[in-house]
Amino acid sequence: MKDRIHVAGIGVISAIGNSVPETWKSFASQSSGIGPITLFDSVHRDVLPVGEVKLTNKALSESLSVRPDVTRTALLGIQAAREAVATSGIDLKRWRTGLISATTVGGMDKTEDFFIDFLKNPSQGRLRNVVNHECGRSTELIADDLGITGFITTINTACSSSVNSIAFGVRLIREGMLDLVVAGGTDALSKFTLNGFNSLMILDHNPCRPFDANRNGLNLGEGAGFLVLVSDRVKSTEHLHPYGYVNGFANTNDAYHQTASSPDGRGSFGAMQKALTMSGLHPDDIDYVNLHGTGTLNNDLSEGIAIKRLYGDRYPKLSSTKAFTGHSLGASGGMEAVFSILAIHKQCVFPNLRFENSIPETGIQPQLRFEEGLEINHVMSNSFGFGGNCSSIVFSKSQP
């Protein structure tokens, strides 16, 4: 059997909190983070609700002591990655450490500003606003902040990105190439993505209602989520009590349509099934499923059908946390990995806010309220994206 890869640290920032403890409080009090746009100018400002992190760039850069001209994607990533490393209590310098991040927008928030002047005249626009445009630049900035040299990489498979970065981290540690990997993802809200999703007419003008019969689209969110993944050797040498371990994962492609999911959810079904197989678990062993559940007509129907194919009518507790946070694209898998680990660590499940009626085709009723005192040993988290990218990951409770 292959070595177990442990989750030694967790860090998250989103619309419902700037840290793991704040996030936990919002879940427990069932407080959604969806609200009007306040942090950037847009014609959609009072029309489209979003899940903003409740800190300006200035506040973030000041509290982190990071240069203020850094992109928001990097700032959010630095915040969550630092928390993940801090909760692990490990001195990264002691180990062969890598960073694997995920992002879809990279430095787009600054590129948007650059482009306004650049379009008028290609010799205009401040270069400092475009120097961090590339996705990989946000990862460099996080690596530099954590003092990681050597192995870094970034994944962009749209909304499934960060699950893939965690999976790649596990594989590199198993291979013996690295001892420790900080893995996850980060994405900031940007006018680019807001207008992109709006042009596709899949943004709800009200707070989103994942898995509801009357759902009407998604709300965009932002944030970052990172895990510190370690080998058995790091665990025993550092005398760690891990939050849990990564049990299995899978990455498939729907190969059906550039943006729409297949009607039978073949990609998502395949991802869940393969992740279970790698874990050596039966579908019934899963105690909680953190759904992708964006709130769009297409995703929730397709994912719901895949769940039904896997479980029939006896499905475990499940919910989409995107009614709390909005859909944070490339970061969502990292954030929801932290939520999944929290469910195991705190033996709880999170509610699917604003749910009223089941989707007729599936009849699935998600978890309605926050519930503690449960036995949560295995959690599956789904992340699906444009381009047919489907990923699922299973986290399990560490045995004492």
Binding site: E112, E134, I152, E175, F192, T252, N253, A255, N389
Partner: protein
Amino acid sequence: MPIYIKGMGTISPQQSWGDGGLLSELRDHKGNRLSCLEPDYTQYISAPSLRRMSRIIKMGVTASAIALREAGMEAPDGIITGTSYGCLDDTGIFLGKMVENKEHALNPTPFIHSTHNTIGSQIALLINCQGYNQTYTQGAFSFESALLDALLELKDNPNQSILAGGVDEITANSHAIQKRFGIFRNAPASSLDLFNVPAAGTINGEGAAYFVLSGKKGSQDKVAVDSVATFYKPGHQALLNGISQFVQAAALLPGDIDLVLLGKCGDTRLDQATEAISTTLFSSNVIGSFKHLCGEYPTASAFALWLGARMIQARQIPEVVATGNVHRPLRTILIYNPYFGNYHSLILLRAC
């Protein structure tokens, strides 16, 4: 564990597709922007699909089709793409319209095609590949990450076939912006003279290269990728140690390497550092270069892998790559590719 190259498809500023001999007709480019020699895409992609594709997607999809054709395969088990800039053209179009139209009445198509994974997912869609699909976007580690992923995947499942590639394009916008950072030479007369005319700055390049890889050796296979490594901001000594360990881990002595393919970029200052590494570690080896052929860009190492593999297949080193021919069979090539100081990567190729 080595992985075997079953097929290659490369679109580059050189004639790298079709039936001609390896670099038999060299293309010399004027100016600091090298453009790819593009094939007739209708030979590879249906007209309705073509209409919706931007240039980088056409190049990526076609390079993958050429690679699959050479491998005699319809669809691989997985697709792994490395692209630093992703789909810049569609990103620029959507951004431009958003600014011009003040966020009103936007066509979603360029947005849909703007994400980095569009290349890999369009390939999957066209050949109905529902397997593993991954896209890396880490500057000059994008292709190396894809290759490393393929190595790990095939180690676990050697019988599978993985399509792995590196794709980056130059657009009018990206070139205009990059020029302003002062990284390119001013109106150079000849790309092939990049290393003969010392100057500050490099030349901008682009390309698409896909490889069909498998852990199972076939009787036709001539080249294997042995290993790959990346070093981010390593510092001089750590880099020297890293390269030495990489060579050692492959059970080689520096002298066993028949050709070191060096990613010099033509910028005198940057190349001094690159040559310092090569003279320290590979003083008695034959040294070749390739960026005067393809230009400097984040996934130029994919072009280097194509070039290295073709050289091993052809058992010869074209004079434009290295002067002072190897007087022994060409069996082992080490690609060392630095990129603007912070990125350093290694790919080891062997005849098999």
